[in-house]
């Protein structure tokens, strides 16, 4: 285990221009995230926590500053390269699950693998492993509408895992779940950090969810507070 | 900004789509009007005073079968007949025309024919010249204009039915009849070219009065019953209609096409409105939240829908109207079409269709707006 942070953020700013007004979503954030950390980003709405998450995950670009993930400055990548990078290095879990309604659980989990060159047999192995890990191997052929919220989110986690990324980001993953399912999901995320050595970054405003993390970071009006 | 300004602004949001949809509506309605015009042209024979007095007598076997020339004597003796002339359709190809010639050439007896085409206006000396020269002809003004011909020019024809050629000199140019396209020449010339077969294609007869015309028709039919060449005499109008009835289903065909056109139109307008309203869902929800009532929102939608279809109607139907009233179609179509006219009735029909479509296209969007709550509307991402 090295001391190198897996994510190194330096003077990151995100500014929106709306007509004549400037909206500062993130103001010169500097932050390091260690490998296998379960980091929780907390803050009131509008604090910029989601924006920060998006930038780390390569879904949004900063106005200024740098983000190095595993040594790579992702702010320098173009659209195409970023897409590729996301596919291999980041796993997403959304509040609204975001499963493709017309695809089965199996097919949903398989989606990220379709962008790789892996042969069918290899893909099958990875998908099955991921679904077993979240305990849904018996629901492979089910469509999202045939599953409960908790089950859908677990399939989403399996999808996030299937390319074996080092980074898992979750944006309010329990926002649409009942407390039992929420606990299940948070438990799995914790397991991913502790047992599988994945770096998990969770955005939430719920202190109970935040308790599952190994470190908390607070944001307010685009700035880190503590 | 007034409410109507608001509606207008919205309508012009997506200029490209607006242009596309208005153009398709306009094009479809233009086509609809054109179909009506074509239908009218084809099914309404020319109705002038002269034609109700004139009768065509053909061989009962078919129009393609000739009649013996000696029937003339019998015809002359039938009461109620003021004039009779042989009338043979030559069907020639004018030298220079490629596949077909759009004006007809008829072989007639000139002296007798003058009594039949009383509405034709020709200078007297031209008529005399025609009567005097067996190889001459008179030509309708329209055809003369089309080919740039004048008195004294020569015209050559190849026979497509009769195995002979014609070389005619234009003795006169007439106008004033309902169909100023045709050419008439001496039947004797045709007879000589064919070796005097002693036949005619048909007889052209003029009755004394309109009232007597049907009686005359009857008498002619009876006169030749059980002869070696039975005839079918019918009024000029019936004769032309008979041609049309051969295209038995033209009304159905045109009706079918019109339905198809209207259907395509429907798809365009409904889809366009659907797309337009979908874009503005959020906005409409906000209006609702502000306090606009449903019926006011409906009014917005209807206004836009009607605006679209009416604009299309003005451009399409109105355009057709302007076109036909400012251009001489008969000249432009080289004499193929005679009474191409856009009547107010047709324009009215087009506008009614447009209005109906404007209404129908607004229905679905109105329904959606009515059903969606403000909250749902605000949630829309667009």
């Amino acid at each position: 285990m090295t001391d190198e942070p897996i994510v190194a953020i330096h003077e990151l700013s995100k500014v929106y221009q709306q007509g004549d007004t400037k909206i500062i979503a993130l103001d010169s954030i500097t932050l390091d995230i260690a490998p296998a950390e379960f980091l929780v980003l907390m803050g009131p709405s509008g604090s910029g926590k989601s924006t920060l998450l998006h930038i780390i995950a390569g879904v949004d670009r900063p106005t200024s500053g740098e983000v190095h993930v595993q040594g790579k400055d992702i702010t320098r990548l173009n659209e195409s390269e970023l897409a590729d990078w996301r596919n291999h290095n980041v796993g997403f879990v959304f509040q609204t699950f975001n499963l493709i309604p017309v695809l089965t659980a199996y097919e949903n989990v398989e989606l990220p693998l379709l962008l790789t060159r892996l042969p069918g047999r290899e893909r099958r192995r990875l998908v099955t492993t991921a679904l077993e890990l979240v305990g849904l191997a018996d629901r492979m052929k089910h469509l999202p509408r045939q599953m409960s919220g908790g089950q859908e989110q677990r399939v989403a986690i399996a999808r996030a895992l299937v390319t074996d990324p080092s980074l898992i980001v979750a944006d309010e993953p329990t926002g649409n779940l009942d407390s039992h399912s929420a606990q299940e999901v948070l438990g799995i995320l914790q397991q991913l950090s502790r047992e599988m050595r994945k770096t998990v970054i969770l955005v939430t405003h719920d202190p109970k969810a935040a308790a599952y993390g190994s470190r908390q970071v607070h944001l307010e009006k685009g700035e880190l507070t503590n | 900004m007034s409410l109507s300004g608001f509606v207008l602004r919205n309508a012009f949001r997506n200029k490209r789509r607006l242009t596309l949809s208005v153009s398709s509506v306009a094009a479809s309605l233009f086509l609809l009007v054109m179909l009506q015009v074509a239908l009218r042209e084809l099914t309404n024979p020319i109705n002038d005073e002269g034609s109700s007095l004139r009768i065509i007598v053909r061989n009962k076997v078919s129009l393609a079968q000739p009649l013996p020339a000696r029937q003339l004597q019998v015809l002359e003796r039938i009461p109620g007949i003021v004039a009779v002339t042989p009338f043979t359709f030559y069907d020639g190809l004018y030298k220079g025309d490629e596949k077909f010639t759009s004006f007809a050439q008829f072989a007639v007896d000139p002296a007798r024919t003058l009594l039949l085409i009383t509405d034709a206006k020709v200078p007297r000396e031209q008529l005399d010249a025609w009567l005097a020269d067996r190889t001459s002809c008179i030509l309708g003004q329209m055809t003369a204009d089309r080919y740039g011909l004048k008195v004294g020019d020569r015209m050559r024809f190849t026979g497509q039915i009769y195995p002979c050629e014609l070389d005619l000199r234009i003795a006169g140019i007439y106008h004033g009849t309902a169909d100023d396209r045709n050419l008439m020449f001496h039947h004797k010339y045709l007879d000589e070219s064919l070796g005097n077969p002693g036949t005619v294609g048909a007889w052209w007869v003029r009755a004394a009065t309109v009232a007597e015309a049907p009686l005359v028709t009857d008498r002619i039919n009876k006169a030749f019953a059980n002869s070696s060449a039975e005839v079918r005499a019918e009024s000029e109008r019936a004769f032309v209609l008979g041609f049309v009835s051969m295209w038995a289903n033209i009304k159905i065909l045109i009706g079918g096409i019109s339905i198809v056109v209207v259907f395509a139109l429907l798809l365009v307008t409904v889809s366009t409105m659907s797309m337009a309203i979908r874009e503005r869902f959020r906005e409409l929800a906000i209006l609702k939240a502000i306090g606009f009532r449903r019926r006011e929102l409906f009014a917005f939608i209807l206004a836009e829908s009607f605006g679209l279809s009416m604009l299309g109607a003005i451009l399409g139907a109105g355009g057709a109207w302007v076109l036909f009233h400012s251009i001489d179609i008969t000249k432009l179509s080289h004499g193929l079409f005679l009474i191409f006219e856009v009547t107010p009735h047709m324009v009215g029909l087009a506008f009614s269709v447009a209005a109906l479509l404007g209404f129908v296209a607004a229905l679905a969007p109105m329904l959606t707006v009515a059903r969606t709550s403000v909250v749902e509307g605000l949630r829309t991402l667009d």
Binding site: R159 | M246, F263, V268, R379
Partner: protein, 387 residues
């Protein structure tokens, strides 16, 4: 690297209710197109004649059709002993002279009258056209006022049943048999004895000659000789060639079919556009998710294009199926060349079906293009909005 095909297909099917208007719209477009083109194909076929490829048909130069052609008996005397014409074992030249007459007869359904083509043939004329077969009754006896009518025409005209008689001109003709022209122009004709025909209708002249040349080389020489002789103004060509050129009647229907299809497809394109815009609107989060997972813009575009094309294809299939219902349906119209009633069958050929389906797919693609581009341009973040 692309989204699986089943993603597009399933999406198309799953939203079937909202896509029904588009599918039906495209189905109708394809239906109209295929129907009119099959009508044209049918007319073309029945104006044609897959006759004996050796035969040479002679008509008057400039005549638009056989029925309008007039050739003198003198010409017949002159031509019949030309070198190059095949001979029977008894030394007779294999040449026939036909007389074509147009007669107006009442329709069976009392809807008025129409022109029927009568062909006066000699026995040699029948021999030269083996594709015309007797299907009922017997052939006419030379010297008698008997006629063999086309079975297909018989359905449309009064007094055309076996044993019936009808009057035309001074004569009464008795129907003694029905013929089948094998789907050629002869299906719209009635045959009788050539001499009887001439005498009834007072025809001095013939309409056409049909010649069997001795061989191919003789054929070419004959054609040249006949056409170049200044005494006659005649046109000679291969019989199959002459019939192949008779396409005038079908032409307006072909044009109409294409024109209507284009007109209607404008509406169909709009409908497709509408449907696909709705799809994109409903799936913005889904599209964003796919982008987050790493799928490129062009994969998204392609997936939507495929969806639109598939929908259109379904519509096309429906349209073809409905149009096929008319396949083989027999009806008639006035042939523009012969000016007589021409029977024909709607012919929905495989080629037409393919054309119809392709057309549908093109319409679908054109309509889907803009919405697909819109989908691709959606910012990735739309996946992440929580509302």
């Amino acid at each position: 690297m692309a989204l699986p095909i089943r993603y597009s297909l399933r999406n198309a099917i799953v939203r079937w209710r909202s896509t029904i208007a588009t599918v039906l719209g495209i189905a109708l477009v394809v239906f109209v197109f295929v129907l009119l083109q099959s009508l044209a194909a049918g007319i073309e076929k029945s104006s044609g004649n897959t006759g004996d490829p050796r035969n040479i048909l002679v008509v008057r130069k400039g005549a638009t059709a056989e029925s309008a052609s007039l050739i003198s008996r003198q010409n017949f005397q002159q031509i019949q002993y030309f070198e190059g014409i095949a001979r029977t074992p008894t030394g007779e030249p294999v040449i026939s002279a036909d007389v074509l007459v147009l007669v107006t007869l009442p329709r069976r359904d009392h809807s008025g009258e129409a022109n029927v083509l009568l062909r006066g043939v000699t026995p040699r004329g029948r021999e030269l056209r083996p594709q015309v077969r007797l299907v009922a009754g017997r052939w006419f006896t030379p010297g008698k006022r008997e006629v063999v009518v086309s079975a297909k025409l018989a359905r449309r005209f009064a007094h055309f049943d076996l044993g019936d008689s009808f009057k035309s001109g001074t004569a009464t003709l008795t129907v003694v048999g029905s013929l089948d022209g094998g789907g050629s122009a002869f299906d719209s004709e009635c045959w009788l004895d050539a001499d009887e025909c001439r005498s009834i209708f007072e025809r001095d002249m013939y309409s056409s000659f049909l010649i069997r040349p001795a061989d191919e080389a003789a054929a070419t020489k004959l054609v040249e000789r006949i056409e170049n002789d200044r005494r006659f103004k005649l046109k000679a060509e291969k019989e199959v060639e002459y019939y192949r050129k008779q396409t005038m009647t079908a032409a307006p229907f072909k044009w109409l079919g294409s024109f209507l299809a284009v007109m209607m497809s404008i509406g169909a394109v709009f409908a497709a556009m509408n449907t696909m815009y709705a799809a994109v609107g409903a799936r913005t989060r889904e599209i964003g998710t796919l982008r987050v997972l790493g799928f490129r813009r062009r994969s998204v575009v392609f997936a939507f294009l495929l969806e639109g094309a598939f929908l259109a294809f379904l519509g096309g299939c429906l349209g073809c199926v409905i149009a096929y219902h008319w396949n083989g349906y027999t009806t008639a119209t006035v042939g523009l060349e012969t000016f007589s009633e021409t029977v024909f069958e709607f012919r929905v050929t495989a080629r037409l079906v393919i054309e119809g389906l392709l057309f549908a797919v093109v319409v679908g693609l054109v309509g889907t293009l803009l919405p697909a581009i819109r989908a691709a341009r959606l910012p990735v973040i739309t996946a992440l909005k929580s509302i």
